[in-house]
């Protein structure tokens, strides 16, 4: 018996115990943010001239971009490879990607010394700069994600724009605009979907090129010319685990029945992708002979072993194991491990592996930096919760509906 | 006359050119190309000639002794932050003797007398000739190389104020202090009597080196052996504890023959006695004892036996009247002063006993003296 799903706003009270904790963390992050913009980077962060980039780049931006890979991988799977059986996952994935990239952008703004000059990037860009490529792609992709999300807004508000009081006169134009946008996007959405995938491939890989210019400052375990390829492969491998993790978390938190059948099918992709990633990673190590560094025991080698063992090898084995695919808890753990592995990889490349020739002062993230990062994550989760309550994002089973309905982003399939 | 000169000049130039052509291109000179040219392929338009190439370093042809060197220079050409520096030139010349002499500072000199720094090193830095430091740079580079060499914490002679007094301590205007400085000399180093050194020559490991004798008896100056010593060789903090070492090279060129053929000259099983001229078969008597070795061993690097005939050295002034016989310790009396040398010293053999028999049958030397014995 086939179940049919229809995305709709979730009706649940917003507040819960977890939400209150998240609100506190978010408030703490906001306080530190005010300090950062009021007193400068030096006042809040432990960054110095030897370590110009800290966790705001390593985690908020680099890991943030990687973990938002669920959006493009899912939309590629569903829309480009026409695997409509995964349709229910597209909207949450796109939305998390949108949230993720929004906070990547925010993270960048926090880290920039002259954030108010960010508009220089598109007009003064230096095409030799890897960072420029990353920046432009992220900016464009963020816009693309908003466009991809727009049909959901349309679906929610077309015919339901009821502004009150003085703004009443706006009701009609807004409604008209939404209708126009809906019909325009309906014809052009495929363009944005492909664009999103291409842009993602570009900047996910370019993120790996970013640290190549640092040369010998980056530990040879991570400094490899195929770093862009490794970044791309790891982004592919973290996309689906991210979707699975979110879906399971959301269903638990919102009291829904998890879509285990769909998730199981999705999980079967992860093992092979992860194996390719591991093969390239180890192959590169053998070709460049960097395994000699594993003879020494230091922070770098320990972190590398943790990254590979817990982040790749163990989840890889798990995803090839039927028991895992059938157990909610194990699937959740396996997905978390992949996410942990890729996030740790980004953290390693940008923070742990970075060893400048002259170290006068070691870098250790300050309370301010950690607070802002944690605050970002808290706000992101809160926004997720809020958005799924406002917009039709998560699909819930509709009992007794038998009509063949395809719930895609509107416009792709007419 | 002028025309003659011109013609002669042209002839000279022509002949020298043709001579040069006979010699061939100057690339065949016994010099490496890069001694003079800094680029690989010099052309006539761009000869890229070096300033002050090494091979004319020793251009000083008019030498003078250290004592004739200028005493003091007051260097105020560049003064701005500090008072003028007073440079004790003669003192430095004296100190410089053991590290290469005048040329160690006056490193480049066209033939002639010693030239001052400013002749080549101009006060303003020349941007078209980067290899030549300006006057200030030249001074500093030259001075500091020695000054820093025995001053590990920069507090002694390499401190800026050592040479550049603060404006309040300007002594360049005080004649009294300047006169004192001008008198300053490097104290004469102590000369140990003898070094007994151990070598790795197993058969006769002990080398006895009579240092004092080399100076006072053999008449060597410090600089004869100590040619390339740095100040730090004696003044460094660890100089006193450092072991004395001698290389064969130190004993060159005087002992070249001994080094090549006669090890026992210096090496022995135990400490050797100092050199004694009597062992050569010619004990030095009162008069010769006071002479330096070179007075008799003229132009000898390694001393060898000389003809012991007096006239082999004392060649001139053997006519009566011209020679003051008193120097031998015997002052001739009135009768003998007029007599030819040969009358007593037969065949000009002054080593042999003088003969009185030519005139006096009953007299003989040294029982009878042709005058009186005087003290010398």
């Amino acid at each position: 018996m086939e179940e049919y799903f229809k995305p709709q706003p979730i009706k649940r009270p917003f507040l819960s115990k977890g939400v209150i904790i998240l609100l506190i963390l978010a408030a703490n992050g906001i306080i530190w943010s005010i300090l950062r913009f009021g007193f400068g980077l030096g006042a809040v962060t432990n960054l110095n001239n030897q370590f110009p980039w800290g966790i705001w780049i390593g985690l908020d931006v680099a890991a943030g971009v990687a973990l938002a890979a669920g959006g493009f991988t899912t939309s590629a799977l569903v829309h480009i490879f026409y695997r409509e059986d995964f349709h229910v996952l597209v909207r949450p994935a796109i939305m998390t990607a949108m949230l993720g990239y929004t906070f990547v952008g925010l993270g960048v703004m926090f880290d920039l010394g002259r954030y108010y000059n960010i508009w220089h990037v598109p007009i003064m860009g230096n095409s030799n700069s890897v960072l420029f490529e990353v920046g432009i792609c992220v900016m464009t992709y963020l816009a693309t994600l908003y466009v991809e999300f727009f049909p959901i807004v349309n679906e929610r508000f077309i015919g339901r724009v009821h502004l009150k009081g003085i703004l009443k006169f706006l009701n009609k134009p807004i409604d008209g605009f939404l209708r126009f946008a809906d019909s325009f996007l309906g014809k052009t959405m495929f363009f944005f979907i492909i664009l999103g995938v291409v842009l993602s491939c570009l900047h996910q890989s370019s993120l790996g090129t970013l640290m190549l210019i640092a040369g010998k400052k980056v530990h040879p375990l991570w400094q490899t010319p195929i770093s862009p390829l490794l970044f791309l492969l790891s982004a592919f491998s973290v996309g689906f685990p991210m979707v699975i993790m979110e879906s399971l978390t959301a269903s638990r938190s919102l009291g829904l029945k998890p879509e285990m059948d769909v998730l199981r099918k999705l999980a079967r992709f992860i093992g092979p992708i992860l194996s390719v990633y591991l093969a390239f990673k180890l192959g590169d190590m053998v070709i460049r002979g960097t395994y000699v560094y594993l003879n020494e025991i230091n922070l770098q080698t320990i972190m590398w072993v943790i990254e590979i063992l817990f982040g790749v090898i163990i989840p890889l084995r798990m995803f090839f194991w039927d028991k895992v695919l059938h157990s909610r808890t194990l699937l959740y753990i396996a997905s978390l491990l992949v996410i942990f592995g890729v996030a740790l990889n980004r953290f390693n490349v940008f923070i742990i592996a970075y060893k400048p020739p002259y170290i006068l002062q070691q870098y250790w993230p300050s309370i301010g930096e950690i607070s802002v990062t944690v605050g970002f994550i808290a706000i992101e989760i809160l926004l997720y919760r809020a958005l799924v309550m406002i917009f039709p994002v998560i699909s819930v089973p509709l009992k007794g509906v038998s009509a063949k309905a395809k719930y895609a982003i509107r416009g792709v399939i007419q | 006359m002028k025309r003659m000169m011109i013609i002669l000049g042209i002839l000279f130039v022509l002949s020298s050119v043709s001579f040069a052509q006979q010699l061939g291109h100057h690339a065949k000179f016994p010099l490496r190309c890069d001694e003079c040219h800094y680029c690989k392929k010099p052309t006539y338009n761009e000869p890229c000639l070096k300033i002050a190439p090494n091979f004319i370093r020793e251009g000083i042809t008019l030498h003078h002794s250290v004592e004739d060197a200028p005493t003091l220079f007051i260097i105020d050409t560049l003064q701005n932050k500090y008072a003028p520096a007073v440079f004790t030139h003669r003192l430095h010349a004296q100190m410089g003797e053991m590290l290469g002499g005048c040329e160690s500072c006056h490193h480049h000199n066209p033939p002639g007398k010693v030239q001052p720094c400013i002749e080549c090193h101009k006060p303003e830095r020349q941007l078209n000739d980067l290899s030549r430091p300006s006057l200030k740079g030249a001074y500093h580079q030259l001075c500091i190389d020695c000054h820093r060499s025995w001053d590990s914490d920069w507090s002694k002679t390499s401190d800026c104020y050592f040479c550049h007094p603060k404006a309040s301590e300007d002594i360049s205007q005080s004649p009294k202090q300047l006169a004192e400085l001008a008198k300053k000399r490097h104290p004469v180093p102590k000369t140990p009597e003898v070094y007994v050194l151990k070598s790795d020559y197993d058969e006769a490991p002990v080398v006895t080196f009579y240092h004092k004798q080399h100076i006072f008896t053999f008449g060597l100056a410090c600089k004869n052996c100590h040619k390339d010593n740095a100040c730090a060789d004696c003044h460094a903090s660890d100089a006193k504890t450092k072991e004395i070492s001698l290389e064969h090279d130190n004993c060159l060129p005087c002992h070249e023959k001994a080094i090549d053929e006669n090890c026992e000259h210096c090496h022995g099983i135990e400490q050797k006695a100092p050199f004694n001229h009597a062992k050569t078969g010619w004990p030095l008597k009162v008069f010769h004892q006071n002479l330096t070795c070179q007075t008799c061993h003229k132009n000898q690097v390694e001393f060898s036996a000389l003809n012991t005939n007096c006239n082999s050295c004392h060649k001139a002034n053997w006519q009566s009247g011209a020679f003051s016989h008193s120097v031998t310790g015997v002052q001739l009396d009135e009768n003998h002063v007029e007599i030819d040398c040969e009358t007593c010293h037969l065949n000009h053999n002054f080593n042999a006993k003088p003969q009185c028999t030519e005139c006096h049958e009953d007299k003989s030397f040294p029982k009878d003296i042709p005058g009186k014995i005087i003290k010398r």
Binding site: N49, G113, V121, P228 | Q141
Partner: protein, 296 residues
């Protein structure tokens, strides 16, 4: 349906056009390697660590310089210092290999690379390599991302972390504005009493450096640091011992931007790979659409 297919193809065309157009409108920052570029030769065997260069540099750049007499205090050498936002050049002391020799003092500042990593890295092209060899930073462009600091193999650019607004990237600018653009030597070169610093055309400096090595083979090691390092730098160093033991980083002779520019150019040369990927994905999507329509 044909309607939508046509618009699909039309849209694809627009993508490739805009992509190519974008490439042509983007410029790379000025990065000239002129034959006559200037440089400075630092002879570390002549340097005496008087730190007059530090003082002169601060005065030249309007940084708080303090009292000149304090610069003769040699106790600062006890800890290694690095150029930062308060001092664009610093002198450090390193023990001599020969224990009887005095320690060696080495001036550090931007090397002004011939192929600078900062110029290549800067997202907005705020860094430029000028005709005379100077690598300078343009305050008007900088967004403060500090990627230059990550990229620099000599770890030179510093950032004013303590400034809330308009923090600057601080590094030696070769006195570009005030001196070298007019052919004058930099402030530090003029201040150096021993002329351990020689200012001139880079190729001449290299000749002089090699001549000094040839004349004094016992004084120098046969290596001019900066002649080939990271593809050549405008500042060149002579040393009496291995440069790694004079506090120089192990940088190799490949230009500092390394593989990033080739990778970057491989991806963006005429936008072929992205457009190809776009076309490929579009093709797959189109085929999928066809088959799903047939099913219906």
């Amino acid at each position: 349906m044909s309607q939508s297919r046509r618009s699909f193809l039309k849209a694809m065309g627009t993508v490739s056009l805009t992509a190519v157009g974008a490439k042509e409108s983007k410029a790379t920052p000025k990065n000239v390697v002129s034959d006559d570029r200037l440089g400075v030769l630092v002879d570390t065997t002549v340097c005496i660590g008087c730190r007059q260069c530090e003082y002169a540099c601060k005065v030249e750049h309007g940084l708080p310089a303090g009292n000149i007499d304090d610069y003769s205090d040699r106790s600062v050498f006890e800890t290694m210092r690095r150029p930062d936002h308060t001092a664009l050049t610093v002198v450090n002391e390193y023990p001599a290999e020969n224990s009887r020799q005095q320690s060696v003092t080495v001036k550090v500042q931007c090397m002004h690379c011939d192929h600078p990593a900062c110029v290549s890295a800067c997202i907005v092209g705020a860094f430029t390599k000028q005709e005379n060899g100077a690598v300078i930073w343009d305050e008007g462009r900088c967004i403060g991302c500090r990627y230059c600091m990550v990229a620099c193999p000599f770890q030179i650019p510093a950032f004013e972390f303590d400034k809330t607004i308009q923090p600057r990237i601080m590094k030696c600018d070769f006195c570009y504005e005030t001196r070298t653009s007019k052919g004058l030597p930099t402030a530090c070169v003029e201040a150096c009493p021993t002329e351990a610093l020689t200012f001139g055309k880079r190729y001449e400096l290299i000749q002089i450096a090699h001549e000094r090595i040839r004349k004094n083979p016992e004084r120098y090691i046969d290596h001019v640091f900066g002649e080939h390092e990271v593809g050549g730098t405008s500042w060149l160093y002579l040393g009496g011992q291995e440069f790694l033991r004079l506090g120089f980083p192990d940088v190799g002779t490949n230009p500092a931007p390394g593989a990033t520019e080739p990778i970057q150019h491989a991806i963006f040369k005429f936008f072929v790979p992205p457009v190809a990927l776009y076309a490929l994905l579009g093709g797959i999507m189109w085929l999928g659409k066809q088959s799903s329509e047939e099913e219906e």
